[in-house]
């Protein structure tokens, strides 16, 4: 499939507005509003409001409508996983990325050359979205959020076990778990259910609408309820999910000696967990860890890898050491650390 004469950087390259595909005249996850955008998934640093045309999975478009007041001014083009469509001179298809509901890798084909933009991805099972599918390609553009050998996310059930054991040791205290509203929240609920926790899980109001959206997409979250709807509830020994910023908010004063927990890949590093005020850090990430990144480079088998979005140098170093032509690709508008990870 390789056309040796064609330089991939001639048809897909970074600009101040984002990654631009010239023969298709569209951007992938642009940092600002543009005429035509292809969106990998619904997180805020990838999906932004105001595009005139947006192409994404139906689930991602639903998430964007929920977040951006229905987007009446954006022409929306849903594309299901596995289907393809022609945009300008480009064949575009979307393949599951295993990151959150609706998340996709963008597969671009032009004159026999194939580039895959991974967006954000992970390789372990997640009950809220289909798993990542490796697509053989000429150029693989990978994220690098957790691209250091210190990041080895433990099995999810080990981390959920930590939360459940803490509930045994401190059965009267409210366990307040900081989660990102989109993806992490629903995944943590599903993990708790899988671990046999069938009690009511309480939610901060900011998490409500996306949980409803997940439920509408057939993801069963069990007995969930809003903290604000509680009457005569002491929250003793309850699990309450909230956005990370609410953990040290005045809102928490209604709870019984709350234990602040945080579910994030960053919790693997102690100093980071302390910075976030977590007393019970749970290493649960929606991104690939170091071994998953390395495994993915081998699985897709691309001779060229462009690394973006995180700690590029370590992954570039690793890719080169196994004979891959790797370079860092600096994209505008990516939040380095504290985004929805």
């Amino acid at each position: 499939m390789t056309t040796d004469s064609l330089n991939p950087r001639s048809w897909l390259y970074p600009t101040p507005r984002g990654l631009y595909c010239e023969p298709g005249d569209f951007y992938v996850d642009p940092a600002v509003a543009v005429n035509r955008a292809v969106i990998t998934h619904g997180h805020g640093d990838h999906a932004r409001p105001g595009h005139r045309n947006a192409l994404a999975t139906p689930e991602t478009l639903a998430i964007m409508r929920a977040r951006f007041q229905d987007m009446p001014d954006t022409a929306q083009q849903p594309l299901k996983y596995g289907e393809s469509v022609r945009v300008g001179c480009i064949e575009v298809s979307l393949v599951p990325a295993g990151h959150i509901l609706g998340s996709a890798q963008v597969v671009l084909e032009h004159r026999g050359q194939r580039i895959v933009v991974s967006g954000d991805y992970k390789r372990r099972p997640d009950a809220t979205c289909p798993p990542f599918e490796p697509v053989p390609c000429d150029v693989f553009i990978t994220e690098a959020t957790f691209a250091l050998p210190v990041f080895h996310h433990p099995p999810d059930m080990v981390e959920i076990g930590k939360l459940l054991r803490s509930l045994e040791t401190f059965p009267e205290r409210t366990h307040l778990v900081g989660v990102y509203a989109l993806g992490k929240c629903q995944r943590v609920i599903r993990l708790l259910r899988a671990a046999g926790y069938d009690k009511r899980i309480w939610l901060h109001g900011a998490l409500a609408s996306l949980c409803t959206l997940y439920q509408q997409h057939g993801i069963d979250l069990g007995d969930i309820a809003l903290v604000s709807d509680a009457i005569l509830e002491t929250f003793r020994g309850a699990i309450v999910l909230c956005p990370p910023s609410a953990i040290s908010d005045r809102w928490t004063r209604r709870f019984n000696e709350p234990i602040p927990a945080m579910a994030s890949g960053w919790m693997g590093v102690r100093a980071r967990a302390r910075q976030r005020g977590a007393e019970l850090p749970l290493i649960i990430s929606d991104h690939a860890d170091w071994s998953e990144l390395c495994m993915t480079l081998k699985d897709v088998g691309a001779p060229k890898v462009w690394v973006t979005h995180g700690r590029e140098e370590a992954l570039v170093h690793m890719a080169r050491s196994i004979g891959i032509e790797a370079e860092a690709l600096h994209l505008a508008g990516r939040e380095e650390d504290e985004g929805e990870t």
Binding site: F170, W251, T252, V269, A271, R274, G277, L280, A314
Partner: protein
Amino acid sequence: MQAFAELLDALSFQPARNAKLRLIEHYLQHTPDPDRGWALAALTGGLDFPGAKPALLRSFGEDKIGAELFHWSYDYVGDLAETLALIWETNPEAGPPPRLGEVVETLQRATKMQTPAILKRWLDSLDATGRWALLKLLTGALRVGVSARLAKQAVANVGKQPVDQVEEVWHALSPPYRPLFDWLQNGGPKPSTNSGGAFLPAMLANPIERAELDTLDPTHFRAEWKWDGIRVQVSSSGGVKRLYSRAGEDVSAAFPDIVEAIDFDGVFDGELLVRREEAIAPFNDLQQRLNRKVVTSKMLKEHPAHVRLYDALWIEGEDLRALPFDQRRARLEAWMARQPRPRFDLSPLVQFTDWAHLAQLREEMRGDGIEGLMLKRADSPYLAGRPKGPWFKWKRDPHLADCVLMYAQRGHGKRSSFYSDYTFGCWRDAEGKRELAPVGKAYFGFTDEELRWLDKWVRDHTTSRFGPVREVEPNLVLEIAFDGIARSTRHKSGVAMRFPRVNRIRTDKPAGEADTVDNLLRLVPPSGNG
């Protein structure tokens, strides 16, 4: 090892004392001997492994993933043991992870040559938390915010005994403390305290105010000056000589001048001071001598330590603790009179006729090195802990300063949603401009209601944020109470307060009328070399 690792992990993230106690108790109750004994030794600082040096850990890491990746990783994590724990991957074929007891006993026997191979095998078999705990244990810096006292409190709670009972037997025991657990959990005999240089739990006093004194009969009490040093216990028997803090921490190593001067058998209660000729140096001078592993001869010469004795618990094999205070005092005076005792002297009794007279003496005593008065019932036996009634401390009134709130930081645990740690400043002139210089930090002294008020004030008057810290408009005056003040090179303003707390919120006072740094400097006592 895995259970111990989980304990250390939980402790390292848990700021609240009671929750830390619960975690340790839970571990001690659910872990068999000898592992729990070794864990107790680790938490109380009783283990030492000379074989594992940082250079060894670094070379492990570089061999594993290459120098570049290891360098980037270490750079990001900032802690060598943690970096190595994270980059090392568990090898499913390495067999079961070691028990804590196996780790300790193996390393105590292993030669320096054998250590690296043993260590690698364990790193392979443990998970990331287990590796982190193992490496922290080996490098001797647990840093999980647990004092030896707290660990002993947890052991005592497990056996439903007062912590002083554990302190009393502690120094006669060694890891893994089987007799201790036998006694506390299995109804075994209480371990013997009859061994060399043991610590005996100290008797503590309750604070008292002038008004309460009128309910007491002055003829029942004896008075002593309350020295501004550190309460210590001098313990010597069977040729073992020790100096302990009042919590039972062995501080002998930092004060070789005192230990050398012990040429007697007995256990005495007294105040550790720095004394030059006849003069007692300010507390700050004593502070220079604390927390040092190595004491230089210069330090010994310029900051000579001294113990001012005020009670005798044992003298030459005889336990005096059941005797009334007056009799112990007579025995102490007679013992001191027998021969000169360099580096030790007697804290004199303060003679008074009634409370008004004593109040007057307290007012007049402006000398340095005195914090107030101690009042002890003439008939009081020496009791462990802080019994109510026999002993009182009547502190000198604190200094007060009006300071301006500059920064507020969120607290921990129950206070994590409250801005409860306050940095305050005083005015000074810098290059012709009047500015606030931070002079201290206080996080108590206020009521719950005042805390809610302060928290709201901080939120409503924030000018900028730095992580958990907020800078506020310099408009709120706090009256700060503090027990002393010293010059300090570590603080921008050049002064450091002792025991500062929020005394009152002065909404009535304009910030411009708060105190100046110069006002504070006038309170600094003149120092010898400090």
